[in-house]
Amino acid sequence: MKKEAAKSLRVFAIELAVYSVLVICYFFLVLNLLGNWLYRLEAQHRYTYAGVAILLIAGQAVVLDTVTTLLFRLLRGRWK
């Protein structure tokens, strides 16, 4: 049981490390590419900005959920 828990913890730590690298790359990309455009949109077209904001956060949720699920499956499969 203890061995199993240690194994789960190790897999989880690796998942977290891989995920962190992916996320850091992702948010620097997003901040650089979208930053100025979103700033102008927020200042000039509030209604469009509101729609874009909700689409971005929902889209990111779906994409990141898929990424984390795939990552969990891939790493757990490899360590079994």
Binding site: F28, G35, E42, I54, I57, A61
Partner: protein, 307 residues
């Protein structure tokens, strides 16, 4: 890093870590974690109106992931969630209008800070009292052989007599919720949702810290279902709140996107963890969280906001 929309300088790693922590809390307790996220943004010098709106946006993303997890575990009452969304949306709009009025008056930061402290303390004290009383009564019944062992997953609450009286209120139309196993007035559900919505629009987040206890103690929903249903309902109501606040100029979506990167993985861990704990223990573990939020708000008030 500079976030031009809210004019704030914040380290993105700090935002991702805050997101990760509140992701775990959200998945486990069914709350958006705004009592941590709001004060954490204030700590970095973000104005309350941006903290409220941005937190709502980040919660939409996080709740989509957590609600999906809870749905897979059978912890969501869809019928209840859809009914509650109506009341929450109306309440959230009232809360957002209050924020606008305070913004125009120029005292949004001070008023929201004081309200947040009172609300966070009140919730912590009430949940501490209730969950300890419930755990003691369950232990007593277990010793007398009325409950099969202390590890029983059946949900108990010291507030049950009040809940039963509320469920007996026969105000038409009465709604049957087979998933939750109760029959209750439509208006009771709507009032609970509306009050939660006002707090959501005013203090930010999904106001799960108000709605989740209300669902358990007032409506009598089992804790595991309250957690999942609350998250599902938050997806709908927080989406509305985000749009409303974005139109009013209170959302920095860049901050929300960065925070959500951490929340996505944290929510998955939290949702799985609920399967290993009984209702009163989840509620007891919840107690320190609003207190941490209150402590951060007091700190920002005393020190002038920044670390």
């Amino acid at each position: 890093m500079f976030f031009p929309i809210s004019h704030a300088h914040i380290n993105p790693i700090y935002l991702a870590v805050v997101g990760f922590v509140i992701g775990i809390l959200g998945g486990f307790f069914g709350v958006g974690g705004s009592f941590i996220a709001g004060p954490a943004l204030r700590l970095m010098g973000v104005d309350w109106n941006y903290a409220v709106g941005t937190d709502l946006a980040h919660i939409v993303g996080k709740s989509i992931v957590a609600a999906k997890q809870h749905r897979a575990l059978g912890n969501v009452d869809l019928k209840l969630g859809f009914i509650m969304a109506f009341g929450t949306i109306a309440g959230a709009e009232c809360g957002a209008q209050l924020i606008q009025a305070l913004k125009r008056a120029g005292n949004v930061n001070i008023v929201v800070s004081y309200v947040a402290i009172v609300v966070y303390f009140g919730i912590a004290v009430f949940m501490l009292w209730e969950s300890r009383k419930t755990l003691r009564s369950v232990r007593g019944r277990s010793q007398r052989g009325l409950v099969k062992g202390a590890k029983s997953k059946k949900d108990h609450s010291a507030f049950s007599p009040v809940t039963r009286n509320i469920q007996r209120l026969k105000i038409w139309p009465m709604i049957t919720l087979p998933t939750s196993g109760i029959r209750i007035s439509f208006w009771t559900i709507l009032v609970v949702a509306f009050v939660g919505g006002v707090f959501s629009g005013f203090l930010g987040g999904g106001a799960g810290y108000i709605r989740m206890p209300s669902m358990v103690y007032v409506l009598g929903i089992p804790t595991h279902l309250a957690v999942g249903t609350d998250l599902f309902e938050i997806v709908i109501s927080a989406s509305y709140g985000t749009i409303s606040h974005a139109i009013k100029g209170n959302v920095d979506i860049l901050i929300a996107l960065v925070m959500h990167t951490g929340a996505a993985i944290g929510a998955q861990i939290g949702a799985v963890a609920t399967q290993y704990f009984a209702g009163p223990k989840i509620r007891l573990a919840f107690v320190p969280l609003p207190l941490i939020g209150a402590a951060i708000v007091i700190y920002t008030l005393l020190t002038g906001h920044k670390l």
